[in-house]
């Protein structure tokens, strides 16, 4: 990430940091910036843990997520039954902890591909439209308007009734619903950059339009697009869990956090942990992604990054807006 940023940012960063001798002219490594911001560091660690759990958790817990034990039905969270009983059991005696781990994998395997697909397609079409302008731009923006002017959940509901609600279809519908966000951002960046001198120079040398977009426009637009993608990860996760909750997302025997909330809803009065805990997992993950997105926005913006390089106790006082 930082490699693409070094060039365009270096000079500006130096100017902004005139009064701060501790900072070299080249931008600091991103993990040092992350260490400066405690909240963002915690958020990054949490997201890393969720990813790690989703990857290796199922291997460690084996079939605990599907193993039924009716004698252990609706057991509350306790330390008496080993690691699988830590967070209680559901009506069929399945371990809630093991199911949470299993669901983390499903949830991420929907959210990550959906975000990557919409990021890739939306950015490519958006930069292409913004770079060329004219009719191509108009058509792309109209299509984006059409998708955006329709509530995404309703679109998903209708489409998922036509095709069966499999993981691939959910990824597809979420990706399509989110493409306009990237398309608009990428188009705005490309439209502004296309009249810059270095793009003119590339055009004069006979560079093809795709090479110009890849070499000269993408590196500058990428930080903004990545920020949008981090924030969007939240939205996609929430939509997936809403769909699963309404019964048209992930289908049993697969399990996702939203589906677990739906399954636990009928036991709300007798076994609160079945519905409450998956929701807590969703909140922790999405809040972490939001906090990290706020940090990415700051760290990739050359005009704001200096705030992260200041010693913590001085950060508030150095902010120019506080002069009032």
């Amino acid at each position: 990430m930082t490699a693409t940023l070094d060039k365009p940012d270096g000079s500006k960063d130096g100017k902004k940091n005139k009064g701060v001798p501790a900072v070299a002219s080249r931008p600091p490594r991103w993990w040092l910036l992350l260490g400066r911001d405690t909240m963002a560091a915690v958020a990054a660690v949490v997201l890393g843990l969720v990813l790690l759990t989703a990857l290796i958790g199922p291997l460690l817990l084996g079939d605990a997520a599907v193993r039924q034990d009716l004698s252990a039905s609706l057991r509350p969270p306790s330390f008496d039954h080993g690691i699988t009983g830590l967070l209680g059991t559901d009506i069929l005696g399945r371990s809630v902890l093991a199911r949470l781990v299993e669901a983390a994998g499903t949830t991420l395997s929907v959210a990550i591909p959906a975000v990557l697909c919409s990021l890739f397609i939306g950015s490519a079409v958006g930069m292409w439209a913004g770079f060329h302008g004219g009719r191509r731009e108009n058509i792309a923006m109209r299509v984006a308007d059409v998708i955006l002017s329709f509530p995404s959940l309703l679109l998903a509901v209708v489409v998922l009734y036509v095709f069966e609600p499999s993981v691939a279809n959910i990824v597809l519908i979420l990706a399509v619903a989110r493409i306009p966000i990237y398309l608009r951002t990428a188009r705005a960046e490309a439209a502004e950059l296309k009249s810059r001198l270095f793009v003119d120079a590339a055009r004069t040398f006979g560079t093809t339009s795709w090479a110009t977009i890849y070499r000269h426009i993408l590196p500058i637009a990428l930080p903004t697009l990545l920020t949008v993608a981090t924030l969007d990860f939240c939205f996609v996760m929430l939509t997936e869990s809403s769909l699963s909750f309404l019964g048209i997302g992930i289908q049993p025997p697969d399990v996702s956090w939203g589906l677990m909330v739906a399954q636990g809803r009928q036991f709300l009065q007798t076994a609160w942990w079945i519905a409450v805990l998956p929701g807590v997992a969703i909140v922790i993950t999405t809040v972490s992604a939001t906090i990290l997105a706020a940090w990415v926005r700051l760290a990739t913006d050359p005009a704001q990054r200096w705030r992260l390089t200041l010693p913590k106790n001085k950060r508030g006082k150095r902010t120019p807006e506080v002069s009032a």
Partner: protein
């Protein structure tokens, strides 16, 4: 101004038409209603008669043409479920959703402007960091889970709020509105804060202060007016997104609105009602977009001039 409006109406109408056509085609793809409404033992003749009576035996283009012809005459067909006019059913459900959405957005916008401005007034202060963290959390909480937690705490444990229905005093409104409110509110606080921080450090704010304007006047009179544009854009998008929330909230709380009607009619393959409901939603969003554009033009002279006559 009239030219500006005419252009905006034409360009906003294209999505409207596409959405209506798209839903018509998609609804036809969701499955054959004949299988759902007739018993398994129905003879082929009965099936054919049912299809012919409802027009399902025609080619899809003919069905579409008939449908458009009826819509122009404000005839939306009849519900397969109840036999009631689809237009009537939708119009009956619409006010419930509209009230819910209007109250929610009003609270969200007023509250977000107050709290966001307060946070932006002293960036990085304790109030700012607290409100930033809380608004981020609010924007990231799944609404259906929040609703269930509300039911668990206030309905089941404390027993002070009803868990579903619309009959009763103001207390039936609390949980549905709180659920719908949480996401728009969290997002709006962040947007208001962001654009107010920028506006408060602009030169015209210094000018206003130096000529002796009071602080409330500087913040709400000078800075807020210029910080309104991004807030307006996001508030518009959030209002459209409120339909998503309405589906969830109305399902959980048994609120007889248009979101519940849509989910029910999809589940029951009730095409006429679904189409009427989607059409009404699309028209509402269309009107909303026009209103937002008019607000833009009223707030900012540059927008009016940017559209060539």
């Amino acid at each position: 101004m009239t030219t500006f409006l005419r252009k905006r109406i034409v360009s906003s109408a294209i999505p409207l038409v596409v959405v209506v056509l798209g839903v018509f085609v998609l609804a036809r793809l969701t499955g054959n209603p004949v299988d759902l409404y007739l018993p398994l033992s129905a003879t082929p003749e009965q099936r054919a008669a049912f299809s012919a009576a409802n027009g399902f035996d025609q080619p899809i283009l003919v069905q579409l043409w008939d449908y458009l012809g009826q819509v122009v005459q404000l005839d939306f067909g009849e519900s397969l479920r109840t036999g009631q006019s689809a237009g009537e059913m939708v119009l009956e459900a619409f006010p419930a959703t509209l009230q819910l959405a209007a109250v929610t957005m009003l609270i969200a916008i007023v509250g977000a402007v107050l709290i966001g401005s307060l946070a932006a007034y002293r960036p990085n202060s304790l109030a700012d960091r607290t409100s930033s963290f809380l608004s981020m959390t609010a924007a990231s909480i799944p609404d259906f889970w929040f609703a269930i937690m509300g039911v668990l705490v206030f309905g089941v444990s404390l027993g002070i709020l009803p868990t579903s229905g619309v009959v009763g005093g103001p207390e039936v409104w609390v949980l549905p509105i709180a659920t719908l409110l949480i996401r728009p509110f969290g997002v709006l606080v962040q947007v208001v804060r962001g654009s107010m921080v920028a506006a408060l450090s602009a030169p015209y704010v210094k000018v206003a202060r130096s000529k002796g304007a009071s602080e409330p006047r500087v913040v709400f009179g000078h800075a807020l007016r210029n910080a309104t544009m991004p807030v307006l854009t996001v508030a518009g998008d959030l209002t459209i997104g409120l339909v998503n929330g309405a589906v969830v909230v109305e399902t959980i709380f048994g609120w007889p609105g248009i979101g519940k009607l849509m989910i029910d009619s999809i589940l029951q393959r009730d095409f006429a009602v679904l189409q009427a409901a989607v059409l009404l939603t699309a028209v509402t969003i269309f009107v909303l977009n026009i209103l937002i554009d008019v607000c833009y033009a009223l707030l900012d002279a540059r927008v009016r001039q940017a559209v060539p006559a």
